[in-house]
Subunit: 365 residues, 2 copies
């Protein structure tokens, strides 16, 4: 493993697909959706051996999420929490992290990872990361591509150059946005397309060069913020507040990756999922012999394949949840909401969120 | 209406059919199962115009229920709450009330009513009660019998003497225990059987005479308790504690009614139900156009014929319940439990209660 490796975990996202578990102020990455630790915490544990310590873990977050994020990672140095004053998509934040790392060591390696995905085979994942880091150390921006198991229309794809399976690291021909089903099928059949899991590996200096070439304003802004940090936390905050909101709101894919000449991908299968739905969360959650995923102590009587999530605060006291004679339900409890929905209908939860907003119950969304 | 009419409402029952709504310390009669007031409070309101005031309403309760019962009826004189030191079935309690009333006026009329039934047509019910009271005033123990709508095996039956429909008040031939389905069918087809709704009407003196004849020990005991009451509440409590536990634990049906020579019944239909199951509770609850019975503010998205009961204390704060894409479910929330069960499976809730007891969670049962 190269000596100086840092991880940037992107934890600023929001969404309502997991309402009432997920909220504007408590998005998916902060939740233990699979029954163990919150997804963000699992992500940190997954990369810790690869970077050597929490001092080399950067976590990007939004202002409204900073406190809850810091609470989940009490040993993370506060200066490693990159709090974006306003959401500006991924490129400014990744640029900020790259500039921060490059300032002390342009040869340091940086891996950028989503905070809310699941990895089933952690050992395999770490081996792929080591390969990707070795590629990045050679000055090539590198990604990990997931070998598709089905024609998923919910993911972006990466097309490779040359022969699939020719090497551990392949050249990238192009990034492709979410396809329709026909294209997705063709992609999977061709064997030349991988799922884009949003993981990037690069030398800090390589990224700064790429930004300078393709996003000069962004490069200038994040460099100025990183330079201000040398004068202390106060100066960094001042520069951040002044400069960050003016940075172009562009994704790293569109703003940088599509323009970089040499891009590499490490293909692999490692039980990856973006946990994009209750179906996916249940697929990957710990379950009993009847297929029920639930907190300890839940009582099931002739009930199968249900998913019970209890996010009520401990202050609520002792409590039992009992499901009798039901199947394939999702039951979510929080301090201020209860949801009951068949797993196959869980996308309709967005209608609940719309109704709550329409009647002015914004604090419940 | 006769001048001096009292009501005794039997509110000492317990059961687990409505768990987690109903508990050992919060039985069905204390719950607003139909969406309005608790069943006991509805029962009191139903009889109030018939007796003229709360001072003539007696409520029989158990020791562990006394506080919760009194809290629901804050204007009930405390001495009108008959707290049984130990459960001794219905005859001792009814005898106690009869002795209490007879002591000041043996000609006073007493009606005995269950606390946990539903009456759909209150005006009709009150008219039937007036007829039954008039019969009772003539010295005949009288009951109201519900004309059966189907061969229910969950109720006891009353067989009449003579021709059905011959008069407003008919003679009773016999009381019959819960029959099997074949007998129940024959009962309904005969036109000579009525459901026993557990309502009795009598002169206080008539009941004391009947007790003296058929339950002499019981008669002596309850008379002594009533006499002690003349010396004050403390003397009454002392006599109650000393004598009540020794009274024979016998039902009014077995101990008295089966032995009384002249028994009359007033047949009628008045939308009666004993609310013996979640199915029955939903049948009689207030529902929206989609057949959902629920607290105000519940959100339903493509959800029909569900029954949502929220008994959480107000201290739990603002909260929303959302059901999406489900039908015919019962969802019950309390401070310490959540139940989800299809209405058709709700009898299996007893298995949940057994499991809770088996694992020592007695406070949840």
């Amino acid at each position: 493993m190269p000596a100086n490796v840092h991880a940037l975990i992107l934890a600023g996202g929001a969404g309502t697909r997991f309402w009432p578990a997920s909220r504007a102020r408590r998005p998916k990455q902060l939740l233990p959706l699979l029954g163990g630790e919150p997804l963000l915490v699992e992500t940190v544990h997954r990369v810790l051996p690869l970077v050597g310590g929490l001092d080399r873990v950067l976590v990007a977050s939004g202002r409204h999420l900073a406190e809850a994020t810091a609470a989940l990672l009490p040993e993370l140095p506060r200066s490693n929490l990159l709090v974006e004053p306003v959401p500006r998509n991924t490129a400014p934040c990744i640029g900020w992290a790259a500039a921060k790392v490059a300032r002390s060591d342009p040869d340091a390696l940086l891996m950028v990872l989503p905070s809310d995905h699941h990895v089933g085979d952690v050992a395999k994942f770490r081996a792929l990361v080591a390969t990707a880091l070795a590629s990045a150390a050679r000055g090539v921006v590198t990604t990990i591509g997931v070998r598709p198991t089905h024609p998923e229309t919910g993911y972006g794809y990466i097309e490779i150059e040359g022969e699939p399976g020719a090497a551990e690291v392949l050249a990238v021909r192009r990034f492709v946005e979410k396809p329709d089903l026909a294209r997705a099928r063709a992609f999977v059949e061709s064997g030349r397309f991988l799922w884009n899991a949003g993981m990037f590996f690069f030398r800090a200096g390589t990224m700064m060069d790429a930004l300078r070439a393709h996003q000069p304003a962004l490069c200038q802004g994040v460099s100025a913020i990183a330079n201000a940090a040398a004068a202390g936390a106060e100066a960094e905050t001042e520069a951040l507040e002044r400069l960050f909101p003016g940075l172009p709101a562009v994704s790293i894919d569109h703003g940088v990756m599509e323009h970089v000449e040499r891009l590499a991908v490490v293909p692999g299968e490692f039980g990856w999922s973006d946990i994009g739905s209750w179906q996916s969360a249940w697929d990957h959650a710990e379950k009993d012999a009847q297929g029920n995923a639930s907190p300890a102590g839940t009582i099931f009587v002739d009930a199968r394949q249900n998913h019970v999530v209890d996010l009520r605060s401990r202050a609520s006291g002792k409590r039992v949840i009992a499901l009798v004679g039901v199947e394939d339900l999702v039951v979510v409890e929080t301090d201020d909401a209860l949801l009951v929905v068949p797993r196959a209908r869980s996308q309709d939860v967005k209608t609940v969120v719309e109704r709550l907003k329409a009647r002015g119950d914004d604090e419940l969304t």
